[in-house]
């Protein structure tokens, strides 16, 4: 099964969340609506709801991450789940235990959900194919493939500022070729009805055939940012410079760095997003990152609400009967 079929149950409900690709608009809108309800929980005296009380969530991070892991952890805790953080780089897989053995060991401890970050594309999908029927998997980033909760928190941030997706012009700027965030964002934007999606990057950082995803390619930042409503910056991995895909950090900033001057060609109410961590002075100028068009810190808060929504949805798609009462 492909990632987008394995993540749905027989009623079309999300039981894993592996990719935004192939989901329908209603499912993405539900994620955003539930996140809106969960967003209020963070502002209360008791920042918790009892929805996942008694459930155990294991964060399996094969790649290091601070903000994604901590926001998943907080989201699970605000749903009253118990959380295990397992840093695989330093654990049993180093002692020769296979991924499958690790999974089965954790299942034997009655974990109900795995949140997986892995350097290989398809890792979360592989795990979803291995786990028992009542265990759910959320992809927290797999290789260059997908990072669906990041894409959804970006959609949530966009909707909070500009709710009419159809009329938006959205530019994604940076290392499109190696970015799972970009891929998941492009799928989500398409599904939500955004008709003008642009990707802006040097030729070496644009994958072949990207136009087939319904985007327009620009190699000139100022040209691409013309009249956009939303700018989604990507983090530039420094290895790209070491590997000579790019000439130098200075050169990259000169051509593709988001500065106050460049921002002026966008709509006056443009919002600037970035998944973090920011490389100040490489892909974005500090004045823009900290400026009044930046929504970067809002994205972090929204990440908690989105992750609560996704966890609650997949955990709620358990096999069983139905019925409600007063």
């Amino acid at each position: 099964m492909t990632p987008h079929t394995i993540q749905l149950d027989q009623h079309g409900r999300l039981k894993h969340f592996l990719t935004t690709e192939g989901l329908n608009r209603q499912t993405l809108t539900s994620i955003l609506d539930y996140a809106e309800s969960f967003a209020g929980v963070s502002g209360r005296a008791v920042k918790k709801v009892p929805l996942l009380r008694g459930k155990t969530v294991a964060n399996l991070f094969f790649e290091s991450s601070t903000r994604t892991r901590t926001t998943f952890e907080l989201a699970a805790k605000r749903l009253s789940a118990d959380v295990l953080n397992i840093n695989i780089a330093t654990s049993a897989t180093n002692k020769g235990e296979t991924l499958q053995d690790t999974l089965h060991t954790l299942e034997a401890m009655h974990c109900d959900m795995f949140v997986v970050r892995h350097g290989n594309s398809g890792a979360a999908h592989f795990i979803a194919g291995q786990v028992a029927e009542n265990v759910h998997v959320i992809n927290a980033g797999d290789g260059r493939h997908a990072h669906p909760t990041q894409a959804m928190l970006d959609m949530f941030t966009i909707r909070r500022h500009k709710p009419d997706f159809e009329s938006l012009r959205v530019a994604i700027v940076g290392d499109i070729a190696h970015s799972r965030v970009a891929r998941s964002e492009i799928h989500a934007l398409n599904i939500l009805g955004v008709s003008d999606i642009r990707v802006i990057a040097p030729k070496t950082l644009i994958p072949d055939n990207i136009e087939s995803l319904g985007v327009r390619v620009f190699h000139d930042l100022t040209e691409g940012l013309q009249d956009v409503d939303v700018i989604a910056m990507l983090r530039l991995q420094r290895e790209r410079i070491k590997n000579a895909v790019l000439p130098s950090e200075e050169e990259y900033f000169r051509c593709f760095g988001l500065t106050g001057t460049r921002l002026r060609v966008a709509k006056p109410d443009v919002i600037v997003m970035h998944p973090g961590p920011i490389n100040r002075g490489i892909e974005i100028d500090s004045q823009v990152a900290d400026g009044d068009r930046s929504v970067i810190l809002q994205q972090v808060s929204h990440g908690i609400a989105i992750r609560m929504a996704v966890m609650a949805m997949v955990m709620g798609a358990a096999p069983d009967s139905s019925g409600g009462d007063n």
Binding site: R13, A317, D325, N326
Partner: protein, 169 residues
């Protein structure tokens, strides 16, 4: 039974005078009104107006506190709860349209406690119907109905408010 033509306005007036008496007897002043989504909010709105309350109206959505989540999952639509005041130390009137099993009220009280420690909670319901599964009772009611398990009562609204009793075939 007066099926399909229950006078909702009359029930709201009964509820209002019952609440007046209750608040007086218990010496509770200046209460906060909190309705439970969806029907309870409609009734709470009417009471809020009748009492000329100067506080905002609270609305609770107990979807995240339900006890049947593991059986049926999330409710399809969840309007966020909104309590635009601090309930700590305040008298709260919790309002719902129909009190049946008592599970919704149990969930609503759990949620209220996560917002703060109210001085008291009074439960006011438009219809108190038979079928309780928990030790919960209303303090003030518009009416009480003895219904069988196959009978359902539903409030539609918000304008006009209508109570309809139906029977499962």
């Amino acid at each position: 039974m007066p099926e399909n033509n229950i006078d909702v306005q009359q029930l709201i007036r009964t509820l209002k005078s019952g609440l007046d008496q209750y608040l007086q007897e218990h010496d509770r002043n200046d209460p906060l009104f909190v309705g439970i989504h969806t029907g309870g909010v409609w009734i709470a709105q009417r009471l809020h107006t009748l009492f000329s309350s100067t506080h905002p109206l609270g609305a609770l959505n107990i979807a995240f506190y339900r006890d049947d989540f593991s059986r049926i999952g999330l409710h399809p639509r969840v309007t966020p709860s909104s309590l635009p005041f601090d309930i700590t130390g305040r008298h709260v009137i919790l309002v719902d349209d129909v009190l049946y099993t008592g599970r919704t009220v149990r969930a609503a009280m759990n949620e209220l406690f996560d917002y703060g420690r109210a001085a008291s909670i009074c439960l006011a319901v438009l219809v108190d119907r038979s079928g309780r599964e928990l030790p919960i009772r209303a303090d003030v009611t518009g009416t009480s109905l003895a219904l069988n398990a196959d009978q359902h009562i539903k409030l539609s609204g918000p304008d006009p408010l209508k109570l309809v009793v139906s029977t499962t075939a």
